[in-house]
Amino acid sequence: MEFSGTVKITDLNDFLRPSEKCSVHNSMIKTSSKNTAKVSLSDCLACSGCITSAESVLLETHSLATLQEKLLQNEIITISISQQSLLSISDRFSMSFDDTFNKLSQILKKKGVNQVIDMCHARDIVLECCYQEFMIKYQSGNVPILSSECPGWLCYALKKGDSKLVNLMSTQKTPMLVQKNIRNIIGYHVVVMPCYDKKLESFMEQGVELVLTTTELMEICQGFELEECNEVQNNFYSTTKIKTSSMGYAEYIFTRAVKDIYGEDIEIEPKSTRRRDVYEIEFRDLKFCIASGFQNIQNIIRDLKTKKSNYSYIEIMACPMGCLNGGGQLRTTREKIIELESSTRNYYKTSTLNTELPSIERELKLVQGNNLKW
């Protein structure tokens, strides 16, 4: 099992020993030479020292075996599949996004899963929440905001223990954490995500019982030919759809903000910069940044410290090129990701998009809250 580079960078030491910079106050962890310290995972996600102990717990609980056990017990099981995971699979099998979802759904149901749903609506809601958060902070000059979706980046930022940095981070919950409420999911809830680090995140909040990666999902589907399922269902439900292979926070917020502030509809074309995997979106005074890869996390942090950064919003992802290259995704190449990014962009340029906003008053109330309590 592989965590993202940011998590992996730390010492792997199975002896439970809080690191020097443990975010939990050291006095809370009682250690003596004889007794093993008890630290709950949610206390320690942000801390390098304890992550290996956590790893073994996770291996036991967040594995395919757990799902297979639940299937045998005939529990009511719902599987939610993230867009990033769907995109990874649809890319591998050269199928459309909707086809991929429908086929996976059929296979999983044959395996005994009661319900398979997408996470587009959860994403729409979260994007809208993030946009509202942005407007409030932007208008009071309280920017930049740093995205907090990527668990690899969030872990790293919290671990650094730099409160100035953490205070800049978006406080919205992630789609994974709101999915259960939004879609009124009952029973055992499994979420399929692009990275292993999401398993860590699931310990933050009720609502997700099991996190599997895209590769783990494909393991369940073994024995079924994805190409052979043909029946078409249609329970797809989204307004924003994907324009990028990752979450698209920067793009969504930017488009909405330009419309709100300047009254203009614009087509976004992220511009590359002298740093590889760092893109900028700019319109008049509004300047956003999308940065991926551990080295760029370092560069962004350094720019913020030295006050060289003039962005209003920065979407940060730990994996180079974002979620399609996540640790739990099907292996692909740099060239393929670039190709896919531009083709999804072109596809949405030419298709008619439903730009109407979802009616989400009720849901907004459900999901607003602090993501950063861990």
Binding site: G5, I9, Q295
Partner: protein, 308 residues
């Protein structure tokens, strides 16, 4: 080989020394968290600058940039400081933060565009500089499973060597903006302490008491060609080479000089210091400096008879 002068100043062990490219200055660093800059005056080598207060723990390495304008220092405090040579003094320009713990080694690329640093955190960081003298993190490389002791850029290409406590040497190459590990050299049986490019070939020294020579062959890979053992009786910490000679220093307080093609021993200097010799660096074919746990730096003159 003749000892010209013993330089005292550091309080505690001297970890490393480095000659400026023109050979006019010698930089040294140690457990006293200080960097000394030495210059040859009419009455011998004298301290011309003492750099203090930038690091909070031992300074493990100092390296001049290839242009000689910059000096980088790597410290156990996890940071790297870049110093600029100005007329008469050295000024601290900036601090590179990122490593999780002790920085053990560093190396400048031929054009000074990249600075590589390595650490006990098992990672290599490549820093890229631009004309505005800003440093970006260009890459963070993980491969070694243990502490990385030293890294070394090739003198003409973007090729990098790393030596580790995991007993291996990795070779990294810049390919379309990515640093790729193109080969791992297995052979040492203990910590690899120092590595150098000898043209396109590689020499390495280790805690396993051997000096190894790895040759680039037709398959475009390096292969172990020679192992020199039985010379040093304690861990070999440092190796340097020039057109004609190779020199090693070790925990047995000895400095050994070899012919660089035959590996024949030209000279052994017993008790060159009173304690472990952490570093030995050739200035040119005539001068050499060594740094030791005894707190001293020695300047040596190499006699021409060595070469004949």
């Amino acid at each position: 080989m003749e000892k010209l002068q013993t330089l005292s100043g550091h309080d505690g062990r001297v970890w490393h020394i480095d000659w400026s490219p023109s050979g006019d200055l010698l930089a040294s660093c140690g457990s006293d968290k200080k960097i000394y800059i030495w210059k040859l005056e009419h009455n011998g080598w004298q301290v011309v600058d003492r750099l203090d207060g930038s690091h909070t723990k031992s300074i493990r390495k100092v390296k001049w940039s290839r242009s000689g304008v910059l000096l980088a220092s790597a410290s156990f405090d996890g940071t790297v400081v870049i110093w600029k040579r100005t007329p008469g003094s050295m000024e601290a320009c900036l601090t590179l933060e990122g490593h999780e713990n002790e920085v053990k080694g560093l190396s400048w690329s031929i054009d000074d565009k990249y600075l590589a640093t390595c650490s006990r955190d098992k990672t290599i960081w490549i820093w890229e500089t631009d004309i505005d003298f800003e440093y970006d993190t260009h890459a963070v490389l993980s491969k070694h499973t243990q502490d990385i002791k030293e890294i070394s850029f090739h003198s003409t290409q973007y090729l990098l060597l790393s030596a580790s406590y995991d007993n291996t040497i990795a070779i990294w190459s810049l390919q379309s903006d990515d640093w790729i590990c193109i080969n791992t050299l297995l052979g040492h049986e203990s910590t690899v302490w120092d590595i150098k490019w000898l043209n396109n070939n590689i020499i390495s020294v280790s805690d396993d008491l051997t000096l190894k020579y790895w040759q680039l062959e037709d398959d475009n890979k390096h292969h172990l060609k020679k192992t020199i053992s039985g010379i040093h009786s304690r861990s070999i910490y440092s190796v340097d080479c020039s057109e004609n000679i190779i020199v090693t220093s070790a925990g047995d307080d000895k400095i050994v000089i070899y012919q660089n093609d035959t590996f024949n021993i030209l000279h052994i200097e017993e008790n060159a210091h009173n304690n472990d010799i952490n570093a030995v660096r050739l200035c040119n074919e005539n001068f050499m400096a060594s740094a030791s746990d005894d707190g001293k730096i020695c300047i040596w003159k190499l006699s021409l008879s060595l070469y004949h």
